[in-house]
């Protein structure tokens, strides 16, 4: 019953009440709600005639993703230092849509990523760029998605582990690159990389869990670094890191859950990234994926397994499919924004989480049954079996031990 689609009049009842105190925050919110209510009104009219609504435009998304994998317009110059990210976002989106490129294209992708690998270990954002934890995380995830021996063997894990050591600080935190900024993204990327590639050691992550917990704020979410404001992207990094380290007991899970549930917007149905900020499609994943992780944690201390996730899965699917699909393929932050690869990946990933929840029991798919996406592993945002395959490959093939002399 919690998952029935909402009707327009109910949504309109949830409109923002500014209590006659108009500020920048309230007027921005009211503007966004007006646009979105219009879309929901139109949608209800259209849906009355078509039980398949809302519909995910799979073909349009797949088509544009495949052209993006080949080449990108000049407007992507600003992401020239994030090309391994582009590869990961595109491949993961295509995998969610169950329409992976052919084996030859995937082999070419492995070769390209090898050109981004740095001789000192790790991957840069493109060939001849310094290694960076973010772009290394993206490359490792992309290679896990490809999942061939060629892909796995292309990673130089001895130098990768060395790279992880060079960006670790004594307090357990991680810089994104040598001489670079230090925040919770660094810790998450390092842990995720190390766990997948079997380069994890307890010493490498000594005190890391304690450092991460110091980023939990009085609101319950996590910030990028101690003292800062709770934020959806960083909250995901914090929670997923603690879960990967098996140290979730260190954080206040009830406060985190309270903060997470409150990020879902009552009109829009999507998530905001921070308190009193606007809805954004990419938080469908960052906030959404926290819920299956939280349910798993709460199940540990419980007699019964918590099979559901504590957010409105239907409302999130509505937001994504009614408000976040660009006409010519690709997904967006919110109506009026341009599509981009990052928002396509994380909005689709969020749709998958909204459909599959904890993964226990049947998926809940709003609209046409053809809208169903493949499932993701909420800690890595890669398919569960692809994480499993990679982890087991790397356990079976330990990195060659370098001569200590």
């Amino acid at each position: 019953m919690d998952n029935l689609p909402r009707c327009y009049s109910d949504i309109a009842n949830e409109k923002y009440d500014a209590e006659r105190v108009i500020t920048d925050t309230s007027s921005d919110q009211i503007d966004v709600e007006a646009v979105i209510l219009n879309l929901y009104k139109q949608f209800e009219k259209n849906a009355a005639m078509d039980p398949e609504m809302p519909l995910l435009n799979r073909n349009a998304h797949t088509a544009v993703l495949k052209t993006w994998l080949k080449g990108l317009p000049k407007s992507y110059e600003c992401l020239d230092a994030s090309r391994t990210w582009l590869v990961y976002w595109i491949l993961h989106s295509l995998w969610l849509l169950n329409d992976m490129p052919d084996a030859e294209t995937l082999s070419h992708t492995v070769q390209f990523l090898s050109h981004c690998q740095h001789e000192e270990g790790g991957y840069g954002g493109g060939p001849a760029q310094h290694p960076h934890l973010g772009t290394t995380y993206a490359a490792v995830n992309a290679l896990s998605i490809i999942g061939t021996d060629e892909a796995y063997d292309s990673i130089d894990r001895s130098s990768l582990q060395k790279f992880l050591w060079t960006v670790r600080d004594v307090d357990g935190s991680f810089a994104l690159h040598k001489g670079g900024e230090q925040d919770i993204r660094g810790a998450y990327c390092a842990i995720s990389i190390a766990k997948i590639t079997n380069t994890y050691t307890d010493a490498l992550f000594d005190k890391t869990a304690e450092w991460i917990v110091s980023c939990q704020t009085y609101e319950g979410g996590f910030a990028g670094c101690p003292g800062m404001e709770a934020h959806g992207g960083y909250a995901f990094c914090g929670l997923a890191s603690l879960a990967l380290l098996n140290r979730t007991a260190l954080c206040d899970i009830d406060a985190l859950l309270r903060w997470c549930v409150n990020r879902q917007m009552r009109v829009e149905g999507g998530f905001q990234g921070r308190t009193n900020k606007l809805v954004d499609g990419c938080y469908s994943f960052w906030q959404g994926a926290a819920f299956p992780i939280i349910s798993a944690i709460l199940s540990q201390g419980n007699k019964e397994i918590i099979e559901s996730v504590f957010f409105n899965q239907s409302a999130l699917q509505e937001y994504i499919m009614v408000c976040c699909q660009a006409r010519d393929g690709g997904l967006i932050d919110k109506p009026g924004k341009f599509r981009d690869i990052y928002h396509t990946c994380y909005t689709l990933s969020g749709l998958s989480v909204a459909q599959h929840g904890t993964g226990i029991g049947d998926p809940f798919v709003l609209g046409s049954p053809r809208n169903e996406l493949n499932r993701v592993h909420p800690l890595h945002n890669v398919a569960p079996h692809l994480v499993y395959n990679a982890v087991h490959y790397f356990i079976r093939h330990p990195p060659p031990v370098k001569d200590k002399n």
Partner: protein
């Protein structure tokens, strides 16, 4: 950016500059079968071909310093360029004051970029001089009062160099401007937590501050979250502070049904139960009633969550009744 395209007539490509004749440009090596190929402008390709060449040679010179400026302008998110620029500044002993001006101008153009703010931070660390940081971040926050990067840099400067003295006034101004600015509320917490301290007096003052702002706008989650945050430092907890509990009950009596108020009363109930200090206002039945009201009327989007919380109270209630029954039986046995 308008000046990064091919339309830039006055621009001379590096390959056409006589002073760069000695350098052989290195084009990007994507391998034979590249993917995600970006259609760079001629200028972009040219600048980066020369950047790759000097990076490979490890050339540290004034002309390379200028080249990194051009590379940054074309893509301010290229962390390799910024890192090399820092290596150059060190090697060449460049005047760091002019570098501060330079990075300020880049920050003004790209205020939401990790690399520019990090570069600024390193410069301030090298100079050990934070005099310009409050103004710089203040300007950025004037443009966007929720700019995460600007706040993070500001917190770092304040904490590292002890610049707390005027921060409460700065925060107060922003909250007066927009009482819903959650970043400003977070900064208020930061100042008390790192500077003023959670003395009993400060805790009571912050509670009053939050309550004033809640009276002003009741549906403001930022103020409610702050109130809850402050009460983490009150020895009496959420349920033991009579000023807060009566504030909440007054709002409720006056027909306020803000979901944040109801949620707050539920938390008060929860704490009262855990402490064994039940009252007619704060007990499992009240909490369950409020959960139901939230799930079905005032906060429907979160109905699953409120039903889950309600279940927890029902379990607690059953355990309580079970205990009381056993107590009674025990008493009877004693008779």
């Amino acid at each position: 950016m308008s000046d990064s395209g091919d339309s830039d007539i006055a621009w001379t490509l590096y390959k056409d500059r006589p002073e760069w004749k000695d350098i052989t440009p290195v084009s990007e090596d994507d391998g034979p079968n590249p993917v995600v190929v970006i259609a760079h402008s001629e200028k972009f390709e040219d600048v980066y071909d020369y950047f790759r060449a000097v990076l490979k040679k490890n050339e540290k010179s004034e002309r390379v310093l200028q080249l990194t400026k051009d590379a940054v302008e074309l893509n301010p998110a290229n962390y390799t360029v910024w890192q090399y620029r820092r290596d150059l500044l060190k090697a060449l002993g460049t005047d760091l004051r002019s570098e501060l001006d330079y990075v300020e101008s880049v920050i003004k153009q790209s205020p939401k970029n990790y690399q520019v703010w990090h570069h600024r931070r390193v410069l301030v660390e090298w100079l050990q001089d934070p005099t310009l940081e409050l103004e710089l971040t203040g300007d950025a926050l004037l443009q966007d009062p929720k700019n995460y990067h600007a706040w993070q840099h500001r917190q770092w400067a304040i904490k590292t160099f002890g610049l707390f003295s005027k921060e409460m006034a700065f925060v107060d101004n922003l909250i007066t401007e927009d009482v819903r600015n959650n970043s400003a509320w977070n900064q208020r917490y930061f100042v008390v937590n790192n500077h003023l301290g959670w003395s009993d007096l400060n805790v009571q003052r912050e509670i009053c501050y939050a309550m004033e702002k809640i009276k002003f706008v009741k549906n403001n989650e930022s103020a409610w979250n702050y109130l809850r945050g402050v009460l983490l430092h009150d020895k009496r907890g959420l349920s033991g502070n009579a000023v807060v509990t009566s504030f909440c009950e007054d709002l409720y009596k006056n027909k306020c049904r803000s979901p944040y108020l109801l949620a707050f009363i539920i938390d008060i109930c929860d704490e009262a139960i855990k402490k064994g200090e039940l009252s007619c206002f704060h007990n499992p039945d009240r909490a369950i009633e409020l959960c139901t009201a939230l799930a079905t009327k005032y906060d429907k989007i979160r109905s699953k969550y409120w039903n889950y919380i309600s279940e927890k109270f029902k379990i607690a209630k059953n355990e309580q009744e079970e205990k009381e029954k056993q107590q009674e039986n025990g008493d009877k046995m004693d008779d």
